[in-house]
């Protein structure tokens, strides 16, 4: 027999969107409103964050971080855990650019409003630029090289408190310094009486507002606490449902639910396809200690790329290099001398790039690289190479033939780095800023939700995550997700007040 539960508000997902909505609605619990958060991933204890690459990737990421697009040419990284992807990002916290929000052209969504809300979470989550004394050589060389090469280098504000510089942010901070929703918004919500159930996957949402939920058992030898509910299937009734399962999870959930959803559901997927570039310096530098991502160069508006400092782990680094054999091994053995830069292409929503579901209901991401996206990666790679050489690197590893650029190549990067070296399937492209699929807009004819995350035609169903973005944000998305989730929560409070509930 399937167990039944009943709540006033059910939030699906506990990341930047779901965690924020949970916190903002939590005061309603005092008035007798029953709120439930359902999180597909487990809740991890502090000591379980070991920083070991494969162990943590398996525990935290969907498919161990190797979720592939349908044609297999790009991996998408997103977490499944209490706190969602805020557990595994580097804490970089930027507010949405005005030009992007204007271009989105969503009636009722003003840049000023989003900025004000984002600022609230920047303060709440201790967002600030890191002190100079905590900056490592990998980041310092980016600043020096970038400025010498003529780029405007900016510092990332990050949401850390007591950062010890483990460099392991993407594997979950082992020192609990990163202030994701797992450290800030969710604990607050739980203290106020919001119920959070982990290992609880929502399979379907019925038109009568019943959710089919599967709570899974903790497998022997795996990380994370058992679910708060007994394993099994549940029917959960809700008056209001907030889907915040991320840009893959939310569109997939709505697509496999028998709901009269707008036609554009799943469409408009974008993701900032990214390449990791490495360069070899003549002497060891501090790279695997210190916050990994402290600076960036934003050429999104002019050249469709953003460069960010980064530092990855042995396997991720190895797979990101092109080629194989002795030359590949030689670069890997130079690890203590490696500088790294992440190149993100600013893609745009394109026809065909969308989320779908398989017959079994699993998400399938259709994504093809447009010419413009490839050009963004090419221009970004050239810019990164300029920065590496200006910083004193003696050799840059990049998609080229052969895939090594010596200092003598610095003057002919346009010739060495060309689009023909960026054919899909020839290089390791991955993306972690997954956006769109339930885009905001005017009506069901052009979008899935309105500017308050209400699904057109289904006012009891809201969306509160990056799937709301009608197009690429062109920067790191977390503060914007939180700002939009804040609006979704406000809309729910307003509607509840209006109905006298």
């Amino acid at each position: 027999m399937i167990a039944s539960r009943s709540y006033d508000i059910v939030v699906i997902g506990s990341g930047a969107g779901g965690g924020t909505v949970a916190q903002e609605l939590a005061p309603l619990v005092r008035d007798g409103v029953r709120i439930l958060v359902l999180e597909k991933g487990p809740r991890f204890a502090d000591q379980e964050f070991t920083g070991r690459e494969l162990e943590m990737a398996d525990a935290l990421y969907q498919d161990g971080g190797a979720f592939l697009t349908r044609d297999g040419t790009m991996t998408l990284a997103f977490a499944s855990a209490y706190g969602g992807s805020t557990v595994v990002y580097t804490g970089t916290s930027l507010t949405a650019p005005q030009r992007v929000i204007r271009a989105w052209d969503v009636p009722g969504l003003a840049h000023g409003d989003l900025t004000r809300r984002s600022a609230k979470y920047a303060e709440q989550n201790n967002v600030h630029p890191l002190d100079d004394s905590l900056i490592n050589d990998n980041n310092r060389l980016f600043v020096e090289g970038g400025r010498k090469a003529g780029y405007l280098v900016e510092q990332f504000p990050v949401n850390v408190k007591g950062c010890r510089g483990s460099s392991l942010c993407n594997l979950g901070c082992p020192n609990q310094a990163k202030q994701g929703t797992n450290r800030v918004q969710l604990p607050r919500a739980e203290r106020a009486g919001v119920e959070v159930v982990t290992r609880a996957e929502v399979l379907r949402i019925e038109p009568d507002r019943t959710l089919t939920v599967r709570v899974s058992q903790k497998a022997a030898g795996t990380k994370g606490a058992p679910s708060e509910w007994a394993p099994g299937d549940y029917q959960v009734r809700a008056r209001i449902v907030v889907a915040a399962a991320g840009a893959i999870g939310t569109p997939a959930l709505l697509l496999r639910s028998p709901l009269p959803a707008p036609r554009s559901l799943g469409h408009g997927f974008t993701c900032h396809p990214a390449l990791i570039l490495v360069a070899e310096h003549p002497h060891p530098i501090t790279n695997d200690v210190g916050h990994p991502k402290s600076y960036f160069v934003d050429h999104g508006a002019s050249e469709r790329f953003v460069l960010e400092t980064c530092m990855y782990f042995p396997f991720v680094t190895a797979k990101s290099l092109t080629g194989f054999g002795a030359a590949h091994s030689a670069i890997m053995h130079a690890f203590p001398r490696l500088q790294m830069i992440l190149i993100l292409a600013c893609d745009r929503a394109a026809p065909g790039n969308r989320i779908a579901v398989s017959r079994a209901g699993s998400p399938v991401v259709h994504y093809r690289f447009t010419r413009e996206t490839i050009d963004g990666l090419v221009r970004g790679t050239r810019a990164a190479a300029r920065i590496f050489f200006a910083a004193g690197a003696r050799r840059v590893h990049a998609p080229a033939d052969p895939p090594y650029l010596e200092a003598a190549d610095a003057g002919r990067l346009e010739e060495r780095i060309t689009a023909r070296h960026f054919r899909p399937g020839m290089l390791a492209v991955s993306a972690a800023h997954l956006m769109g699929g339930c885009g905001m807009g005017r009506s069901a004819a052009d979008s899935v939700t309105d500017a308050w995350g209400r699904v057109h035609g289904l006012p009891w169903l809201r969306v509160a995550d990056a799937s709301l973005f009608p197009n690429s944000l062109e920067i790191n998305p977390y503060l914007t997700i939180m700002g939009l989730a804040d609006r979704v929560a406000e809309g729910i409070r307003r509607d509840l007040a209006a109905t006298g509930a």
């Binding site: 920083g51 494969l54 161990g64 460099s167 782990f313 890997m332 053995h333």
Partner: protein, 129 residues
């Protein structure tokens, strides 16, 4: 076709030449990592992987008169280089998939990480370096 097959070993030592110097226990550790990753994939993907390795083993017969696992290292590398540049996306994807598994198996071992000088530590700046 299994992960302990000659073709997988031939591919692995071509991608990471140092893998040829692993002792039995180290090789087993590498294979276990790869086997775990493969087991987590769908049956369809597992079948594609086995088929791709079979093709890789026999295709060199047409050009070199020998299977991949019997080729000398230089020819093996030349053949795999051609595969990674193949005009067909499906072939390039297959190459990248197996290459990724090999790199995961090799560099996912803590000993390999230490060997290349990777020293990240949860204690960060306070760790002795």
């Amino acid at each position: 076709m299994t992960l302990s097959s000659p073709v997988f070993r031939a591919f692995a030592t071509c991608v990471v030449p140092e893998a040829g110097g692993l002792d039995t226990a180290q090789w087993d550790e590498m294979e276990a990592i790869v086997a775990r990753a493969v087991a987590a994939r769908s049956r369809a993907v597992q079948r594609q992987l086995a088929l791709f390795l079979t093709l890789l083993e026999w295709l060199p017969l047409l050009r070199y008169g020998r299977r991949l696992s019997r080729l000398d290292p230089a020819r093996r590398a030349r053949f795999l280089d051609r595969v990674q540049r193949a005009p067909m996306l499906l072939v390039r994807r297959g190459f990248w998939g197996v290459r990724t598994l090999i790199l995961m198996g090799y560099y996912g071992r803590p000993a390999a990480a230490a060997d290349i000088g990777y020293r990240a530590d949860a204690r960060g700046w306070e760790a002795k370096r």
